[in-house]
Subunit: 475 residues, 2 copies
């Protein structure tokens, strides 16, 4: 018997770490702040990659690969960018046994080096738009790290596009944000709130940043993806220019956007429960776990033979058979529940006789017996129900824990007691934003696109405003 | 008009660089020795990845991700490994604004850090074999670099497996080598020679290294992939041990194997010609380029409408329509020949009337008219013929330029004049190997698996031997 998983209501942080490790999503690496993504976690990442990559390609984006190392001088060219990233850089000072003349930065993000290349490639309006994405690793020196959520090195995709006009860049920035939402809601079953970051929370060097925020199981927020309209800031820093139709030289308008392995942390924290992981069927590395039940070698042979037959009916799904001898069926049930497999099939000698199997849902715990006729359709239906239910449960949780108010005492009470998202009027002053952050640790996650436009008073200073912001504590 | 591509027979190195740049496979990066893989080159890499990844997964391997940074002390633990890699390391000495206590190495390969993790994960014979692969970037400080062939940073896959016995590790090492050959010959249309590296050419830390060697268009060799049986060297350095069935602690036997973006260089240099790239249909990012021909707006409309119809018959292929207005059809023919698209479809107003199109093969230059009935099958057939012909042409070239001999004067004459592969008897002494290398610049590429076993005399010293080695100049 293994030690019981700690309850998420008892200690959410500790529960998160235990789930990550016991479900074998990731392990700590021998380098401070780094992690190893284990096969089960990486298979989840591959499914995320495929889902997103398909969407990017359908909208005309192509993948490419830019260097890991960036000359230090590049980082300095955009003044806000260097301010934001300088404290987080990892620096290569020696190569091939010699000290380098100019130190190299291990990319924390690639606007600068890609900006430089775009300045080489783009000549005319005919070359625009340039729509490129890259899947890669990046490094940001972090003091406090947590697997997937904040690690020194992480994997992500970073899209970088260049356009002829502000409007086109803005359209791209939003198009990608909606792609992220479509992915989050329809593949990961995670409801999200879209909005714009405040000035203090926007990307270093951006004109403005759009974000997709999700509510975790402890009612904190997680920034699940961002999309930046970079304006002409990087175009001017790197001389990304094109000849327009009138043969005039113009600066491009650029965007960048990214989603990282952090999203795996969101999946864990949105859907997980006291039994462990709960994976959405569309992204689960294993959608169906088959656990055979036997008491004798004879029974074993019979049951496994039947499973061999059934597998041909389940070719459309990602199926695994756990036929290990050293563990009991009960142990296996717990194990695959911990690892979040959406659907379990149990089959013993009596089921073989009766041409039936038992199905068990990870999300509801429901168990029922079905005949093996047309098993594929039954599994498909069950997985679709699980996918839908995960979204509905998460949506209900989000809605129930989102408060609309304009009273600061109430605001503080909610944030400091049970937690949740608070949508409250804000006067747009950085001073109010900062004061709220200091007093409650809640930050402005975004200014949601959905606004009622009603006149109200800033929750902190009382000044008149029609704007509402989303406040929460965040990972 | 663009400047003509230099002929590969005039200056093969310059031709290679021109093709890479003009076909937009890659570009030089602003960091010495680094390159940018452009969308067309990256799409080729994605097709390579998919082909290999499918084969790895079919044989039970899983992907994972290990950290980019390795503690310097890890590299030192296996004595041969550190000797081989120390001169090539990039070192991070500063992070987050501070000097690090222990410098970090940017991975040149991951045996050490993966070995460490395996020592944490593997406990019992039940945990074996561990079959893991990772797709990632690695960095090796190189003095002389060339796009794809030798760059400071490159992309690759590195497989790392752990087994209970020498025999299982050896079986794995060979299984992967045959996977590489299957991929090279059947997807990339590149004939290869399999064999074992000599002691001086094996991987730093390996028991022995198997290799797949291919002949480039200038008759030099390129090591296209390697597979290493690491014996217990890394298991002992990192304490990778397991309890066997008798409860005895045993060291594991490990392997590693890799294929990199260098393989793109092989595709360029094996198939390319005076017109540029020639891509094998199975890996080509664009398999079919459609070039519409028109003289008036009315014709244009008619032709493009027809192409719209035809595209539905070609959904099984990767098709692109080049409908740009600013270039002539002739310019486009050259452009897509340069970029190696296997098959071109030309269609003008008369073709529309006659329900026909012109097909043109990139490999043979053959052009012929076909009716649009059942166009999909005709395209499929043409692509299959091109794929087969590319392999046959490369195989013929390899065979015609491979010499079996035992006379050293003849050996030198071949290597120093026209070039080629020389299969010659070798006594296994490193002195003969070294002397031949110094005198002719030819190295032992491998000891081919195919051996006639006939007694002969070492091509250099004359000592009796039955072993034949493959000698060539190499990239």
């Amino acid at each position: 018997m293994r030690e019981k998983l700690i309850s998420p209501t008892e200690d959410f942080s500790e529960w998160y770490i235990q789930v990550i490790q016991r479900a074998e999503l990731a392990d700590y690496a021998p380098v401070r702040g780094c992690m190893v993504i284990r096969p089960y976690g990486y298979a989840l990442w591959e499914n995320i990659q495929q889902s997103l990559d398909r969407r990017f390609k359908e909208t005309g984006h192509q993948n490419a690969y830019f260097p890991l190392f960036i000359p230090y001088s590049f980082i300095q060219k955009e003044s806000e960018h260097v301010k934001g990233f300088a404290p987080q850089l990892a620096i290569v000072t020696h190569g091939g046994g010699k000290e380098l003349e100019e130190p190299l930065v291990v990319r924390p993000t690639s606007e600068t080096i890609i900006g430089y290349m775009y300045s080489q490639w783009i000549r005319s309006y005919r070359d625009l738009p340039v729509l490129i994405n890259q899947w890669c690793n990046v490094v940001r020196w972090e003091l406090r790290t947590r697997p997937f959520l904040r690690t020194m090195e992480f994997l992500w995709q970073e899209g970088h596009t260049a356009h002829a006009t502000f409007e086109e860049a803005e359209e791209e920035t939003l198009k990608i944000l909606y792609i992220y939402r479509d992915f989050a809601q329809n593949e990961a079953a995670i409801p999200v709130i879209l909005g714009k970051k405040s000035e203090s929370e926007k990307f270093a060097g951006a004109l403005h940043t759009y974000t997709m925020e999700a509510m975790m199981g402890n009612k904190w927020a997680l920034q699940a993806a961002t999309s930046h309209n970079l304006g002409q800031n990087f175009a001017k820093a790197f001389e990304i220019r094109y000849l327009d139709r009138n043969n005039q030289l113009q600066y491009c308008w650029t965007t960048s956007w990214g989603l990282s392995t952090r999203f795996i942390g969101a999946i864990v924290m949105v859907h997980g429960d006291e039994k462990g992981l709960k994976l959405p069927p569309k992204l689960a590395p294993i959608q169906v776990i088959i656990v055979p039940i036997w008491k004798s070698d004879e029974e074993k042979e019979k049951v496994l033979a039947k499973i061999g037959e059934l597998k041909s009916k389940l070719q459309a799904f990602r199926v695994k058979v756990d036929d290990r001898e050293e563990y009991t069926p009960g142990w296996k049930f717990n194990e695959w529940e911990l690892r979040g497999v959406p659907l379990r099939i149990e089959i013993g000698p009596r089921d073989v006789e009766a041409d039936q199997v038992v199905l068990a849902r990870r999300d509801t715990g429901e168990k029922w017996t079905v005949s093996t006729d047309d098993l594929g359709s039954k599994v498909e239906e069950a997985l679709a129900k699980i996918q839908a239910n995960l979204f509905q449960m998460a949506k209900k949780f989000l809605d129930e824990n989102t408060y609309r108010l304009n009273d600061y005492q109430e605001f503080k009470r909610i944030i400091e007691s049970d937690g949740g998202f608070v949508i409250a009027p804000w006067c747009e002053s950085p001073q109010c934003e900062e004061a709220i952050k200091e007093e409650t640790k809640a930050t402005i996650r975004c200014i949601p696109f959905e606004q009622d436009g009603q006149p109200d008073r800033c929750v902190y200073c009382g000044k008149e405003t029609t704007l509402k912001a989303l406040f929460a504590r965040a990972f």
